[in-house]
């Protein structure tokens, strides 16, 4: 009897502790967002989105940084998507399951944990200097593409793994080659999962600051990039730059820009969740 009561008490205690832990992050985030909203929401208008940066906080806008972010996002997608998916298909469907494959696998997972500033240094050396791209949108995109490649590869492999073996069997038994099976069956069946992984990876890329600062992305660029070889800034760098200014007006600007950056990542995550749910239903 006594024991049962004790266990029940423990149960209750853990439940409350669990709820507290669950809410901890969420509550803090909510407080932070609330603060930011109070500081910045009034600052957001069409002019703020469309204005070039300026010395005067009230006239300043995020146009160049926003365009920079969009350029980087698109180019990063173009680079990371085909490379990551091809690598995942190779690892999952073609490579023999031997020692080498295990080593590759472990290392790709490790890559996902390498600090992003290291990727920045790599990008600086390889893309900016050796390949002479300069501190361009292209160099930034290659750097971020490398950064998210492990995530794309791992999530694509997971999506391919989730396709039932019976579908592979059926396709091979019909006389399909490996590539035909990948192209006609596995990719369509895992499309939702791949997309989810890619979007999540990109929403990480859009918030990255350190590696882009390392390769030399600027805090102040007078114009939005018009080609991949142009100099650029991105939203997080712009935010960082504004926060370090002493005048109060720039703090408001930073808060407003943060709201927009958060909005972008939330929307991307939302799309990812939507595709994941839709895709999961297909196999149930």
């Amino acid at each position: 009897m006594n024991n049962i009561r004790k266990n029940r008490l423990k149960d209750q205690a853990f439940k409350i502790w669990g709820i507290f832990c669950t809410l901890l992050g969420l509550v803090l985030l909510a407080v932070f967002i609330g603060n930011i909203l109070i500081d910045g929401i009034m600052r957001i208008d069409w002019a703020f989105v469309m204005n070039l940066p300026s010395r005067h906080a009230e006239e300043s806008g995020i146009y160049t940084a926003l365009m920079g972010s969009i350029w980087v996002l698109l180019l990063t997608t173009l680079i990371a998507l085909p490379v990551g998916i091809a690598a995942a298909i190779y690892l999952e469907e073609y490579s023999k399951k031997n020692k080498l494959a295990t080593i590759l696998e472990v290392n790709i997972s490790n890559l996902a944990g390498v600090p992003s500033i290291i990727y920045g240094l790599l990008g600086l050396e390889v893309f900016v200097r050796i390949m002479e791209m300069g501190a361009s949108v292209l160099a930034g995109s290659f750097t971020l593409a490398l950064l998210i490649l492990p995530i794309v590869i791992v999530s694509t492999r997971e999506a391919l793994k989730a396709v039932p073996k019976s579908i592979r069997d059926a396709s091979f038994a019909m006389g399909a080659s490996k590539w035909q099976t990948v192209y006609h069956q596995l990719l369509p069946a895992s499309f939702g999962g791949i997309l989810t992984g890619v979007i999540l990876a990109l929403s990480r890329a859009v918030g990255e600051t350190a590696p882009l600062i390392v390769i030399g992305a600027l805090a102040y660029v007078p114009f939005a990039p018009s080609s991949p070889m142009d100099e650029f800034s991105v939203l997080p760098i712009q935010i960082f730059n504004w926060i370090t200014r002493p005048q109060h007006g720039f703090v408001e600007n930073a808060a407003a820009a943060i709201i927009i950056l958060l909005l972008i990542t939330f929307v991307m995550n939302g799309i990812a969740v939507y595709f994941r749910n839709k895709w999961q239903k297909k196999f149930k």
Binding site: K97, D169, A173, G175, Q185, P188
Partner: protein
């Protein structure tokens, strides 16, 4: 001595030309020996049933004929498998072409998550055949052969996964027929189905043997005796007895066979 006897039993049933031949076939998965040296001939336009307790190697042996074991990790094979007197493990054999000739139906219906039409047309499409009327004709005739046409002709664009299990299995057979194989391998094709669907598939198999050589693995003794002409009894990676179905079920040579078919073990 015992070995000699077994071979003479096997030879007794062989009079005509052979469609499939296995010669002293051994199979390993890693260190485990799953097939321990089987020789066997299978006649054209007959239904041959493989029976035997779970894990005795029926599926493994069946999958040798369309080389579906090739992708299995640790798989190793010794001996020869001939189809129409051609060694299918030869270097010059194109596995994709082989599988167009040797169709396979699986235990669990496994239609592609695509439309009914796409399912049946898949084998033709991957061969590069694109002509729409040709594809439509072939889809129709294949679905008619499996008696599914009347049930689905109005919604060929419906997702195949929306069909019942029995319909799905007939669809899978139609998909196999569409590429006009000469051999169909079936691995327990009705074990996941209800009795009515099972009866339909058995009826179908009976009709198909005019045009195809059929090898079927089954755990259902009645099914084996109903639909097959010859029956092979496997036990622990060996072929114990192979003869006319009638003989196997009424007067088997081996004690083990008798024990198995009368349900005394396995």
């Amino acid at each position: 001595m015992g070995k000699k006897k077994k071979e003479s039993v096997i030879e007794s049933s062989i009079k005509r030309k052979y469609k499939l031949q296995a010669k002293d076939v051994k199979v390993w998965y890693g260190d485990f020996m799953a097939i321990k040296g089987i020789s066997m001939d299978i006649k054209p336009n007959k239904v041959t049933a493989f029976i035997g307790p779970s894990g005795c190697g029926k599926s493994t042996f069946l999958r040798l004929f369309n080389r579906m074991n090739d992708y299995v990790d640790g798989f190793k094979m010794d001996g020869t498998i001939n189809i129409d007197d051609k060694d299918i493990n030869d270097k010059d054999i194109n596995v994709e072409l082989l599988r167009k000739q040797v169709g396979m139906v699986f235990q669990k219906p496994n239609p592609f998550p695509k439309s009914i039409f796409e399912n049946v047309a898949y084998g033709l499409k991957i061969q590069g055949l694109k002509d729409k009327t040709f594809l439509e004709e072939r889809v129709e005739s294949s679905l008619k052969q499996v008696a599914l046409w009347e049930e689905v002709k109005d919604d060929l664009n419906k997702n195949a996964l929306a069909l019942s299990g029995g319909q799905q299995q007939r669809l899978c057979i139609a998909r196999t027929l569409a590429v006009e194989p000469s051999i169909i391998l079936m691995d327990e094709p009705t074990s996941a189905l209800d009795p009515i669907s099972t009866a339909k598939i058995e009826e179908l198999i009976y009709q198909l043997k005019d045009k195809y050589t059929i090898v079927i693995v089954t755990h259902n003794m009645q099914q084996a005796s109903r639909i097959s002409d010859n029956t092979a009894f496997f036990y622990l990676g060996d072929l114990i007895e192979y003869d006319k179905t009638n003989k196997i079920f009424t007067n088997p040579e081996k004690k083990q066979t008798e024990n198995y078919i009368t349900g005394r073990f396995g």
